[in-house]
């Protein structure tokens, strides 16, 4: 049986990504450990993404509150606005929006950087220098995205909740302590934990796809552009797929 070319290409790429992921797990536990490169990547990937994540989180909280208010007024439950916004942000909107922003900023940057290094022979030069480029470039970046995204999600959630607090106060007056009491009284462990855990998977997927696309870049500058672009597209798609799986798993585990 002959597969259609697109299906064949899709299956080949999926297989190559699986192999690449397998290599990551083999290399990650094997010395030499690139601690300084990992710390540097955490700074570049985590700290440098904070302003963008903070700004989008703030706007998201503010807008969500303003959009929700009329509907809640219609149902006569305007007082539930902080609780509703809090749950929406912490359970779903915070992790997913932060991950999508992260895929756009970091996924593309990793894809373009590694792609550019590949086509200008910098990766070969690294190997000739006695450095394992997979360990130095890929393992450090994937670990950094995996561990930085959950932290960014927590910070993004906090900033988003503050944006929502300002949103609540545009057309009403609610004290800071009352607002946060209402938010946290309605949040439980089962709201926070699954959202936090799934953001590790989001970070891992974005990192591994960005690195895969960059590491397998070809055809000069055109190939670099394509690597950056497909890192964002595939990374964002993976965020939704993982989110879908996470919802099913948390449902089965009784977290919903």
């Amino acid at each position: 049986m002959t597969l259609p070319p697109n299906t064949k290409r899709f299956l080949e790429e999926a297989g190559a990504i699986a192999q690449f992921t397998g290599r990551f797990f083999r290399e990650v536990f094997r010395p030499r450990y690139e601690w300084s490169a990992f710390i540097q990547q955490c700074y570049m990937i985590g700290y440098k993404s904070l302003p963008l994540v903070g700004l989008t989180g703030f706007i998201m909280g503010l807008v969500l509150t303003m959009q929700l208010r009329p509907s809640l007024i219609d149902y006569g439950v305007e007082s539930e606005l902080p609780a509703m916004v809090g749950i929406a942000i912490v359970r779903e909107i915070g992790p997913v929006i932060t991950a999508l922003i992260f895929a756009g900023k970091i996924g593309s940057s990793i894809g373009a950087e590694l792609g550019s290094m590949k086509v200008t022979e910098q990766i070969d030069a690294m190997e000739v220098s006695g450095t394992n480029p997979f360990k130095y470039l890929v393992v450090t970046r994937v670990l950094a995205t995996t561990f930085m995204l959950p932290i960014l999600v927590l910070l993004g959630d906090a900033i988003s909740l503050y944006g929502a607090y300002l949103g609540v106060n545009i057309k009403a007056t609610t004290s800071f302590s009352l607002y946060y009491t209402q938010v946290f009284n309605n949040l439980s462990f089962s709201d926070v934990l699954p959202a936090f855990v799934k953001s590790f998977f989001f970070g891992f997927a974005i990192g591994i796809i960005g690195c895969f696309k960059g590491f397998h870049s070809s055809k000069g500058t055109e190939g670099v552009g394509r690597s950056a672009n497909s890192s964002v597209v595939l990374g964002s798609l993976m965020v939704f797929i993982i989110d879908l799986i996470a919802v099913q798993v948390t449902d089965i585990l009784g977290f919903n």
Partner: protein, 245 residues
């Protein structure tokens, strides 16, 4: 010639990509202290050849012996150890864009000689840069340098580990004739200073004439002809003639 010690010995090398067989039983011997040029058309497999020598590509068949060690039998650690003795000047220079000139030169040092002190590192970096006449660029980024300067910095990085063998991949491609001549002269000066053995992949006849003791013509995947520049230039073989016209 066979009595001289070989720095690199290649026997019956085959390498292909799918249906495209690039090297078809290629043989080469690089004697210690010798500059050997490999000349061939674009796509003839010259770069593939030196990437096989350094272990960046695996040959399909054949034997590559570098400084007495068979490349194919080495594990990764031993290969890395051997690579300290081999410098590689990439066609694109392959300077790390995100690092300064100093960091570019420090990178191989810190990877291979982990116990090296900051002072020793700095001394070696400055020595390498002085060798290529660019000590003043130490804190610049590669993007701030001209093509010729980048080539010199790449050469300084290649030399910093004091290799016994240097593999040059198109060292003068993309450079103007004057800079090209400067790079060729620099290659000669450094070869004399450090007594290195070199393989120079090129199709720049001026560079080959200036730097090579001997040359090999790579045609259809084999070493079609070899000898000194003037000997090959005097040949009336219709395959060799076009390279010297």
């Amino acid at each position: 010639m066979s009595n001289t010690e070989a720095a690199i010995l290649i026997q019956n090398l085959y390498k292909g990509f799918g249906s495209n067989q690039v090297l078809k039983g290629f043989n080469l011997r690089l004697n210690k202290g010798e500059n050997l040029a490999v000349l061939g058309k674009s796509g003839s497999g010259k770069s593939v050849l030196i990437k096989c020598i350094i272990g960046l590509m695996q040959p399909d068949e054949g034997e590559i012996t570098v400084l007495g060690e068979s490349i194919s039998s080495l594990n990764q650690d031993h290969l890395d150890h051997l690579r300290v003795k081999i410098g590689f000047l990439f066609q694109s220079n392959a300077l790390y864009d995100s690092m300064t000139v100093r960091e570019n030169l420090e990178f191989p040092l810190r990877r291979h000689w982990m116990e090296i002190s900051d002072k020793e590192t700095n001394d070696l970096v400055m020595e390498s840069l002085e060798n290529v006449g660019l000590a003043h660029t130490v804190d610049l980024m590669p993007i701030e340098l001209s093509g010729g300067m980048r080539k010199r910095i790449a050469l300084a990085r290649t030399l910093i580990l004091k290799p016994e063998i240097i593999l040059y991949d198109e060292p003068t491609t993309g450079l103007d004739p004057i800079t090209s001549k400067e790079i060729s002269d620099l290659m000669n000066a450094l070869q004399k200073k450090y007594n290195t053995s070199s393989i120079i992949i090129s199709h720049d006849m001026n560079c080959i004439q200036r730097t090579a003791d001997r040359m090999i013509l790579l045609v259809d995947g084999i070493a079609y002809a070899e000898g000194e520049f003037d000997t090959l230039k005097a040949s009336t073989d219709p395959v060799i003639l076009p390279y010297f016209e």
